[in-house]
């Protein structure tokens, strides 16, 4: 298994040695930096604390510098408990958020991807909800973990992150037809809800994720049923994930998650609105061959779904 890059993003280098006495906040920080580096250190293939430290010394020696042993556990073993708990906790969280990606790659490859990802990008947020914010970026940066299915994996990672955003992302006050009745379309710029994601992806991620969900539900039932055997397992197979470009909006309505397929021109129009174009420009972006009636229908649906809001205030002096 290829080893990920040695220094996790955002962490300052660890001290050479643990501070012997803690007289100041700086000493406390040094100790915490050292221990954090130990915890985020990737586990070995059999889920143990790595026997060697970053500088090549035996980990047992480094652990003994700052952790007391007791009559049952060495310093190394005590640190290992924390190292393992750290990894199992964050891996579980990524597993929960990415059922589709997990099904695509299979358990072993998915596990390797997750570990490599979290080794490079440990959490920078107080909540594990944001753990997967950079997973798409990582898949692009290090395609070897997902090859040859990198494009499919990326599509799923983006989609599954969009679901997190749609679940509890910010909702701004909804624009109603009344709010914009008097605005000239050539000047009107709307905002899209922050919880809404527009995805143009090469794979039918929505169908695939739903199939996985259905399979998992059936598996759950099967595991509760008295009789189940290999015959049932074959019935749980998910259809193959073949390339077929789609446009999909991931959003919520009355606080429930929804995926809405969009026609390409409708998608282009929404993208233009999101980018801050005027309504007239957005309609033009939809392309020729789109009728006024189509645009009216789309617009009415989006309005009903509450997708439009005021544009966020622009930062001052944008030209600087």
């Amino acid at each position: 298994m290829p080893r990920p890059a040695s220094r996790p993003a955002g962490l300052k280098p660890p001290p050479k040695h643990a501070p012997q006495r803690l007289h100041t906040t700086a000493d406390l920080r040094t100790l915490q930096r050292l221990m954090t580096h130990v915890l985020v250190r990737p586990l070995t293939d059999d889920d143990r604390l790595q026997p060697k430290w970053i500088d090549g010394r035996p980990m047992a020696q480094v652990a003994a510098e700052f952790i007391k042993p007791n009559d049952r556990l060495t310093s190394f073993e005590r640190l290992e408990l924390y190292n393992r708990m750290y990894w199992f906790r964050i891996i579980d969280s990524v597993y929960e958020d990415n059922p589709g990606l997990r099904a695509l790659l299979g358990e072993r490859r998915f596990a390797r991807l997750v570990r490599a990802y979290l080794a490079k990008y440990p959490s920078r947020s107080f909540t594990m909800r944001n753990l997967c914010a950079r997973l798409g970026q990582f898949i692009r940066e290090e395609p070897r973990w997902t090859a040859p299915r990198t494009a499919a994996a990326l599509a799923l990672a983006r989609f599954e992150w969009a679901r997190t955003v749609a679940f509890d992302g910010e909702a701004r006050p909804v624009m109603t037809p009344n709010d914009i009745a008097d605005a000239p379309p050539a000047r009107l710029r709307l905002g899209l809800q922050p919880y809404l994601s527009l995805l143009a992806v090469d794979y039918p991620v929505d169908d695939y994720t739903l199939a996985v969900k259905e399979r998992d539900a059936l598996r759950g039932e099967a595991s509760h049923a008295v009789e189940h055997g290999p015959r049932r397992a074959t019935r749980h197979k998910i259809p193959p994930f073949r390339r077929r470009p789609i446009h999909v909006a991931v959003h919520r309505y009355r606080n429930r998650l929804f995926y809405k397929r969009l026609e390409a021109p409708a998608f282009r129009m929404l993208e233009a609105i999101q980018a801050g174009r005027t309504l007239v420009q957005a309609v033009a972006a939809a392309g020729r061959g789109v009728t006024a009636e189509q645009v009216r229908d789309w617009f009415a649906t989006w309005m009903e779904l509450g997708w439009f809001c005021a544009r966020p205030a622009r930062p001052k002096n944008p030209r600087k």
């Binding site: 962490l11 007391k68 007791n70 920078r124 594990m128 606080n255």
Partner: protein, 289 residues
């Protein structure tokens, strides 16, 4: 303590941790429960279903906020954006007090999402107390800090865990959320007498108590919150309430969560252990009148 300045002078009874698998049951059946403890972080979101559920719960129940990411013991400064989100939630829930752990878990903005043990030193106590004061001043709500379970100790420590806890809360002038299960777990992992711990904490600062289940392994005990409360923990609980008085008590059950009724029944077992403390309270009332 029953009602004191650390729990906003409330006298809450026996509460439960609000957990996702129970949402539907609670919202539909509206069972009688003294109070719910929520994990603040689950509701420090910008919108969606979590806040909708919370608002429905708030209409019916008393709610207290319990955090897992303030990391009073981290050397890092409290994060402004984090505090702002937390204050928005405090205003929403009107929590009479707020608790988080006496631990650390982040450094230089990287988060471990764990509750890591402190080195028990005077410098660390001073820094931790300073942060508790800053957070309390900003949030404008009483704070109780909770003792954590731990599996390691530092060479650098200069005192026992209970001395450290005392040092921090006196310096910060804050309350204690006394987790008797955590005391038990740590006492086994670090070979101390849990009753020494209980006898030495400043009892008048205890604003809330936690009970929970744990798991025994060959060489250590883990704080797993996936079991009923074990007997020795209930005994510690009884002792704690004798010392501190009948105090707002909460059962934590976070993994392999059974039905709502099962969790509630487990929590209500606490009633059987606070008889001694209740009798003492009555005697005191009679003497006073």
């Amino acid at each position: 303590m029953p009602a004191n300045r650390f729990n906003g002078h409330t006298d809450y009874g026996i509460g439960l941790g609000l957990r996702v698998p129970h949402y539907a049951h609670i919202l539909e059946k509206k069972p009688v429960v003294d109070w719910f403890e929520i994990i603040s972080e689950n509701f420090m979101v910008d919108g969606g279903r979590p806040l909708e559920v919370l608002d429905q719960i708030l209409e019916q129940y008393q709610v207290v906020q319990h955090g897992v990411s303030m990391y009073f013991g981290s050397a890092d400064k409290p994060d402004r954006a984090h505090l702002k989100k937390l204050k928005t939630l405090v205003r929403r829930t009107k929590t009479p007090w707020l608790s988080d752990h006496l631990c650390w878990g982040s450094v230089d903005g990287t988060f471990t999402h764990d509750l890591l043990p402190m080195p028990y030193t005077f410098a660390a106590a001073k820094r931790t107390a300073e942060k508790i004061r800053q957070v309390r001043d900003y949030l404008e709500v009483p704070i109780c800090v909770e003792n954590v379970s731990s599996y390691a100790e530092f060479h650098a420590s200069e005192m026992t865990e209970w001395e450290f806890l005392g040092e921090v809360v006196e310096r910060a002038d804050c309350g204690i959320l006394l987790d008797v299960n955590n005391i038990y777990v740590s006492s086994k992992n670090h070979d101390f007498n849990p009753y020494d711990y209980l006898n030495h904490v400043p009892h008048d600062r205890v604003g809330q108590i936690h009970v929970a289940g744990h798991t025994k392994f060959e060489k250590y005990i883990l704080d797993t919150h996936d079991h009923p409360v074990l007997d020795p923990v209930w005994k510690l609980y009884a002792h704690a309430t004798k010392r501190c008085g009948v105090t707002a008590t909460l059962l934590e059950w976070d993994d392999r969560i059974p039905s709502f009724d099962e969790v509630h029944d487990e929590a209500l077992k606490a009633n059987a252990y606070i008889g001694g403390a209740r009798a003492a309270k009555k005697r005191a009332a009679v003497t006073a009148s």
